[in-house]
Amino acid sequence: MDVKLLRIDSRLLHGQVATDWAKNTAIERILVVCDQAAGDNIRKTLLMQAAPPGIKVHVLTVSKMLRLCRDERFDHYKVLVLVETPLDAMRLIAGGLNTTSVNLGSLSFDATRKMITETIAVNEQDILALAWIRRRGIELDHRKVSSDPKRDLWKLLCDKGLVKDELDHS
C-alpha cells in the first residue's frame, strides 16, 4: 500500500485531516486504524460520515491493516493512515507498514500525560513508542496542517529533557 501520510491524532478523522491533509497528499482513501473504533459501530459510522467528498473512509483494526499492507492486491492504493496513539503507529511500522515520516497532529491530555506543546501531551508509553520509531530513522513531524512549518517533535522532547538524544549526537 502506498502510504502517503501516517498521522497520529487522538481525534482521528476531523476537519484538519478532512480538509487539509486529504487534499494536499493526493490520496484516494483514508484508513482509520483503531481497534476500538473498528469494533464500535456507532463510532465507525460517525468516522465514515466525516469523509471528505470523493474520498473513501475505512475503519480497520490494526491486524487487518497489517494484512492489507502485505496483500499485493492493494499495492496501488494511495492512502492516508490515521492512528490514535504512538503505540498503534509503532505496531503498524513494526508489522511492515512502509513510511519515512510520521505526522503528529494531536495527542490529547489525560492524567497520565504531560503537555509538551499546545496540542501534544505524552506519557511514558508514548515516549517509548516514539523513541522506537525514531530509532528506525523515521522522522517525527509535528504539524497540525500541511501549511504549518515543520517541527521536529524529537527535538522538542529532547529540549524538554524527556528523552536523551541518542541519534543526533552519536
Binding site: 469494533g39 475505512h58 487487518k64 494484512r67 492489507l68 496483500d71 492486491r73 492493494f74
Partner: protein, 921 residues
C-alpha cells in the same frame, strides 16, 4: 380626543358593524391598538361585539335584526354559503379518505383568533403541497388572512448550509456576514399577516426549529446578526414532512404544532377515488392540449398500477408522460388524443401486472370502468397549486407541437420525428425518476455486454416468450447475454470448445423441452453470427434454460404486523415502508374490543394479500395472537411463522431481511428470533461454541462455471477490493453436479452468499443477477451482509461418536428383540456397502445407521413372518424400476450369509428409503 374616543366616535358614526381592520385603515391607528381599545369599549358596555369571522363591532344603539342572528351563530354554520362552496369541496376524497383531513384543515384555519399552526405528514407525492395550497386558498376565501401571498419555502433547498437557510427565513442585517451589504427581510416578514409554508420541514436544522418555535410563541424574531428579537410578524405556519415527526423533528417543535394532518397513501385510497384522481389529472392535460383524450380500460389499469412509491405525484408524472407521447402521435389529428395500451412505455405497462396481482382492487376497478374513457377539456383554470414540483415549468405540449412542425418542415419522416421528440419528452419527464432505477438495468449491462449481443438476447427472449411460452424470469436478460458474450469471445479467440461431460448429458436428458429450445437458440445464433455453433454449446444453453426456468417465481416473504391499538401496527408499518420503500409489509390494527375471530379473519385476509408464494412472517405484539400461525396455515395453505413482542426496530429488520436479499421464511424467522435491536453489543461466544475458521466465500453459479460465473467473480472481486475486504473468496461453479461439489467446498469454505443463474438453496442469502448488476442496492446489501457475517460461531463438535459396527450393534440391540445384533451387524454393514456401490451413493454415518436400523427391522419381520404388504401398483412400480437389478447382488450376499431372503415388499421399502433419504446429495 383620545384614541379610544376617536374609535368610539368612528364606530358610532357608521351605521353598521365594522371590522377592526376597517377601523385601523380608516383612522390610521395600528390594528392591534385598535383591537385593544375595542375590547376596553366592549367591556365598558359602550360597543357590542359580533362573533363571526372576522369579528365585527358596532355601536349599541345601532342594533339591527341581522345582528342578532349573527350573534347567535357563534360556531360557523357549515350551511353558510361561503363555507359550503369552499375550495375543499372540489377536492377528491373530501367525503372519504380526506374527510378528517379537511375538517382538521378547516378547523385550523378558522380557529379564533388567527388560526392554528399545522403540520402535514404523508409519503412522497401524496399531495402535501397541494393540500397546503388548498388551505391557503380556503383562508383567503374565508378572509382569514390579510396577506394573500402564499409564501413557500423548501427547507431542503439550503439544508447543507444552515446559515444560508436561516438567513432566507429570518433575513439579515448589514454586516451580519461577508457579503451582507444591506439589510434584507426574510420570508417570515414577507408572510406577515398570511401563511408561510415550510416544505420538507425535517430538513430544518434544530437551531432553526428552535428559532421558529420561539417565533410561534412570541410572534417576534431577530434577523441574522441582530441581538434582540425586535421584529414582529403575524404568521400562520403550515409545515410538511415525509418523515415521522416524532423522530425527525424536535419534540419541542412538534408540541407547538397543535394540528397534524396525515395525507393518505395512494394505495390506501379507495378505487373510486383513485379513478377520480386519474380523471382529474387527465382533464388537466386535456385542458392544456385543448383536445379530447380517450383512454382504454387497460391504459387506466396500467396507469393506476404504475404508482409504486410516489403516490399521486407519480401518477401525475406518468400521466404527463403518456399524454405527451399520445399528443406526439396525434399531432396531425385535430381534436383527439388516443391512448392505447400497446403504445405505453414498458414501465407503465408493468403497472397492469402489478395491479392484476391485487385481485380485490382489480375487481372493484373493473366494475367502475367503461371500455373507453373520454376526457374532455373542461375549461377550468389550472390547478390551484402554483408551486407544484410535479408540474413542468413550461407548456410541454407547445414545445412538442412546435418542434414537430419544425421538423416536418425540414422534411423529416414521421418516424424519425417521433423518435427525436420522444427523447426530448423522456429528458423532460425523467426528473421524477431521477433517483430511481428505471432504465438503469440496461445501462449497467451495456458496460459488460456489447449492444449487438444485448439486442440478440432480447430477440431470443422475445422468441422464447412469444413462440414457446417459456417463462422468462427476471434473471434471463443478464444470464443469457453474459453467457452469449462469453461464448462469442471464446469462438472469436479460437479457443477450443468446451467438452460435454456425461453428467451434463444426463442432466439435460430429463428436460427435452429445454433442449429443443436450445436448438432453436442455436439456429438463431448461427443465423446471426454466420458460423456453425458446435453441438456441445446446445447442452450448455439447455442447462442455462433449465436453471433459469427452475428459478421459482419466488416473491418476497410477506410481513404482516398485527398489534393492539388503533394505530400501533399501521404506524410501525408506515415508518418502515417509508424508510425502506418496501411493498411486502401490511398492518392489522386491532382495537382491544375486537374479538379474536374477527382479528384472525382480518389477519388471514392480509396474509393472503401479502403472500407471494414464499410464506408470510407474522409479527404480533402479545397474547392470543401468537397462537394464530397454525390456524392461518390451515386455512390458507400459506406458510406462516409468528414472532412475538414486535417493535419498530424488529419490523425494520424484518422488512430489510425479507425485501432486499432473497431469503426464505425459515431463515428470516430464525434470524429475527435472535434479533434484539440494533444497539446490542457484539455477542460473546457462549461456551461450547467455537469460532468458525473456514474462509468466507461467495459462490457464483452459471451453467458452465466458466463464462458468467467468471464475470461475476471479476465484478465481485472488484467490489471486495474496493471495500478492502481481503478475506472473502469468490468461487465459481457449474450448476451441473453442483450439490456434490458444494459439500466438498464446505470443508474448506464457509459459503456466506450465493449468486448466479440459479439459487442453490443453501440457506444463505441468494443475490440474483438482476440485483447484482442493477446498481448499488444489491451491492450495498451484499457488503453489509459481509460485514455482519465476519465472526461466526458454530457449535463445537463434540466429535459425533463415530459409527462403527459396535455402535451400530448397540443401537440394534436397543430396538430389536429377536435378532442377534453381534451376529448380523457385519452382514448388514456389508449389505450397505454393496448397495452403496451399486447405487453410487455416498453413505454418511448417519445414513448408514438409518439404513442398518431399517434392515434390522426387515430381518425381524421376516423371521417373525410378519410381512409388510404392497399394493398392486407399488409392486408394478417396483418391478419396472431398476431396483430389482440394483438389489440383486446385495440380496444374494444376504441369502448366502443369513440364509434369508427379503420379500419384494421389503425390497420395495428399502428402495424407497434410499430414494427419499439418500438420493438428495
Amino acid at each position: 380626543m383620545t384614541r379610544k374616543e376617536k374609535i368610539l366616535a368612528y364606530v358610532q358614526a357608521k351605521n353598521k358593524a365594522v371590522t377592526t381592520k376597517e377601523i385601523a385603515d380608516d383612522l390610521g391607528i395600528l390594528r392591534n391598538n385598535v383591537s385593544k381599545e375595542l375590547n376596553v369599549l366592549v367591556r365598558a358596555g359602550q360597543l357590542s361585539k359580533i362573533a363571526g369571522r372576522p369579528v365585527k363591532y358596532q355601536s349599541l344603539t345601532a342594533k339591527t335584526d341581522t345582528v342578532i342572528a349573527e350573534t347567535v351563530s357563534k360556531i360557523p354554520d357549515p350551511t353558510e354559503p361561503s363555507l359550503r362552496s369552499s375550495i375543499f369541496d372540489t377536492m377528491i376524497g373530501q367525503k372519504d379518505s380526506l374527510k378528517t383531513q379537511i375538517e382538521q384543515a378547516k378547523a385550523a384555519i378558522l380557529y379564533p383568533p388567527h388560526g392554528l399552526n399545522v403540520l402535514i405528514t404523508g409519503p412522497t407525492g401524496s399531495g402535501k403541497t397541494y393540500f397546503a395550497n388548498a388551505m391557503h386558498q380556503f383562508a383567503i376565501n374565508q378572509a382569514m388572512v390579510e396577506n394573500k401571498n402564499f409564501v413557500t419555502f423548501n427547507c431542503a433547498d439550503y439544508a447543507h448550509n444552515p446559515q444560508l437557510l436561516m438567513s432566507h427565513l429570518f433575513g439579515y442585517v448589514k454586516g451580519a456576514f461577508t457579503g451582507a451589504q444591506e439589510d434584507r427581510d426574510g420570508l417570515i416578514q414577507k408572510a406577515d399577516g398570511g401563511i408561510l409554508f415550510l416544505d420538507e420541514v425535517h430538513r430544518l436544522p434544530p437551531e432553526g426549529q428552535e428559532m421558529i418555535f420561539y417565533f410561534m410563541d412570541h410572534g417576534t424574531y431577530s434577523k441574522l446578526g441582530e441581538i434582540t428579537k425586535v421584529h414582529h410578524a403575524d404568521v400562520r405556519l403550515i409545515c410538511a414532512t415525509t418523515e415521522d415527526p416524532e423522530s425527525s423533528l424536535l419534540k419541542t417543535f412538534v408540541r407547538r404544532i397543535p394540528i397534524t394532518i396525515q395525507m393518505p397513501q395512494f394505495e390506501a385510497r379507495s378505487v373510486r377515488e383513485q379513478l377520480a384522481l386519474l380523471k382529474r389529472l387527465l382533464t388537466l392535460e386535456a385542458n392544456r392540449t385543448q383536445k379530447n383524450i380517450t383512454v382504454t380500460e387497460d391504459v387506466v389499469k396500467a396507469l393506476l398500477g404504475s404508482v409504486t412509491f410516489g403516490n399521486v405525484g407519480q401518477l401525475k408524472s406518468n400521466i404527463q408522460l403518456v399524454c405527451a407521447q399520445g399528443f406526439l402521435n396525434s399531432v396531425d389529428q385535430a381534436e383527439q388524443i388516443n391512448l392505447k395500451f400497446e403504445q405505453l412505455p414498458q414501465n407503465i405497462k408493468d403497472g397492469m401486472s402489478r395491479l392484476a396481482s391485487d385481485r380485490a382492487r382489480l375487481g372493484k376497478l373493473s366494475q367502475l370502468l367503461e371500455p373507453v374513457l373520454l376526457i374532455q377539456p373542461d375549461g377550468a383554470a389550472e390547478s390551484i397549486n402554483e408551486s407544484d414540483r410535479y408540474e413542468l415549468p413550461y407548456n410541454l405540449y407547445e414545445v412538442i407541437g412546435n418542434k414537430a412542425a419544425l421538423l416536418k418542415e425540414e422534411g423529416l419522416e414521421q418516424g424519425a420525428i417521433n423518435n427525436f421528440i420522444m427523447t426530448d419528452i423522456n429528458v423532460h419527464l425523467k426528473s421524477f425518476y431521477r433517483d430511481n432505477k428505471i432504465l438503469r438495468t440496461e445501462k449497467n449491462l451495456n458496460e459488460l455486454v456489447d449492444q449487438d449481443t444485448l439486442q440478440l438476447t432480447k430477440d431470443i427472449m422475445q422468441m422464447l416468450k412469444k413462440d414457446c411460452g417459456y417463462h422468462v424470469g427476471e434473471n434471463f436478460i443478464y444470464a443469457m447475454s453474459l453467457h452469449l458474450s462469453s461464448f462469442i469471445k471464446r469462438v472469436q479467440s479460437g479457443r477450443p470448445m468446451r467438452e460435454v461431460s456425461d453428467d451434463l448429458v444426463a442432466m439435460v436428458k430429463d428436460y427435452p423441452a429445454d433442449l429443443k429450445l436450445a436448438e432453436k437458440i442455436k439456429a438463431m445464433l448461427e443465423d446471426h453470427y454466420d458460423f456453425i455453433v458446435p453441438a456441445s454449446e446446445v447442452y450448455y444453453l439447455a442447462v442455462l434454460l433449465i436453471s433459469l426456468n427452475s428459478v421459482p417465481k419466488h416473491g418476497k416473504v410477506g410481513v404482516v404486523v398485527a398489534a393492539h391499538g388503533n394505530h400501533t401496527a399501521s404506524s410501525m408499518v408506515q415508518v418502515v415502508t417509508e424508510l425502506l420503500n418496501v411493498d411486502n409489509l401490511v398492518a392489522v390494527d386491532m382495537s382491544l374490543e375486537m374479538s379474536p375471530t374477527v382479528a384472525l379473519n382480518e389477519i388471514i385476509a392480509k396474509v393472503k394479500q401479502v403472500d407471494r408464494g414464499n410464506g408470510v412472517l407474522l409479527l404480533v405484539d402479545m397474547g392470543s395472537l401468537s397462537t394464530f400461525s397454525a390456524k392461518i396455515t390451515e386455512e390458507t395453505d400459506i406458510k406462516v411463522k409468528t414472532i412475538d413482542m414486535v417493535t419498530t426496530a424488529m419490523v425494520l429488520e424484518a422488512a430489510r431481511k425479507t425485501a432486499l436479499i432473497d431469503s426464505d421464511l425459515e431463515l428470516v424467522y430464525h434470524e429475527l428470533n435472535e434479533f434484539n435491536g440494533y444497539s446490542r453489543k457484539a455477542e460473546e461466544p457462549t461456551q461450547g461454541e467455537l469460532e468458525d475458521v473456514r474462509q468466507r466465500a461467495i459462490l457464483a453459479l452459471c451453467s458452465t462455471g466458466k463464462g458468467t460465473a467468471e464475470k461475476i467473480k471479476q465484478m465481485l472481486d472488484e467490489i471486495l477490493a474496493d471495500q478492502l475486504i481481503d478475506d472473502v473468496s469468490v468461487l465459481t461453479m457449474s450448476v451441473v453436479g453442483m450439490n456434490d461439489k458444494i459439500s466438498e467446498l464446505n470443508e474448506e469454505y464457509r459459503i456466506i452468499a450465493t449468486t448466479g443463474i440459479a439459487d442453490p438453496n443453501l440457506g444463505v442469502p441468494y443475490i440474483s443477477l438482476e440485483e447484482l448488476f442493477q446498481g448499488d442496492r444489491g451491492k450495498r446489501q451484499l457488503i453489509e451482509h459481509l460485514e455482519n457475517s465476519q465472526t461466526w460461531y458454530v457449535e463445537s463438535k463434540t466429535p459425533a461418536p463415530k459409527v462403527d459396527q459396535t455402535a451400530a450393534a448397540n443401537y440394534l440391540e436397543q430396538y430389536y428383540t429377536f435378532i442377534n445384533p453381534k451376529k448380523v451387524i457385519g452382514v448388514l454393514w456389508q449389505y450397505c456397502d454393496l448397495l452403496a456401490k451399486e447405487r453410487q451413493l455416498k453413505l454418511t454415518d448417519a445414513r448408514r445407521l438409518a439404513l442398518i436400523m431399517h434392515l434390522g427391522g426387515a430381518i425381524e419381520r421376516v423371521l417373525l413372518s410378519a410381512p409388510v404388504t404392497l399394493t398392486e401398483e407399488q409392486a408394478v412400480e417396483f418391478e419396472q424400476s431398476d431396483w430389482p437389478q440394483v438389489l440383486k447382488l446385495a440380496d444374494e450376499y444376504l441369502e448366502a450369509k443369513l440364509n434369508l431372503k427379503f420379500p419384494p415388499a421389503e425390497a420395495y421399502y428399502i428402495a424407497k428409503l434410499v430414494d427419499t433419504e439418500m438420493v438428495e446429495s
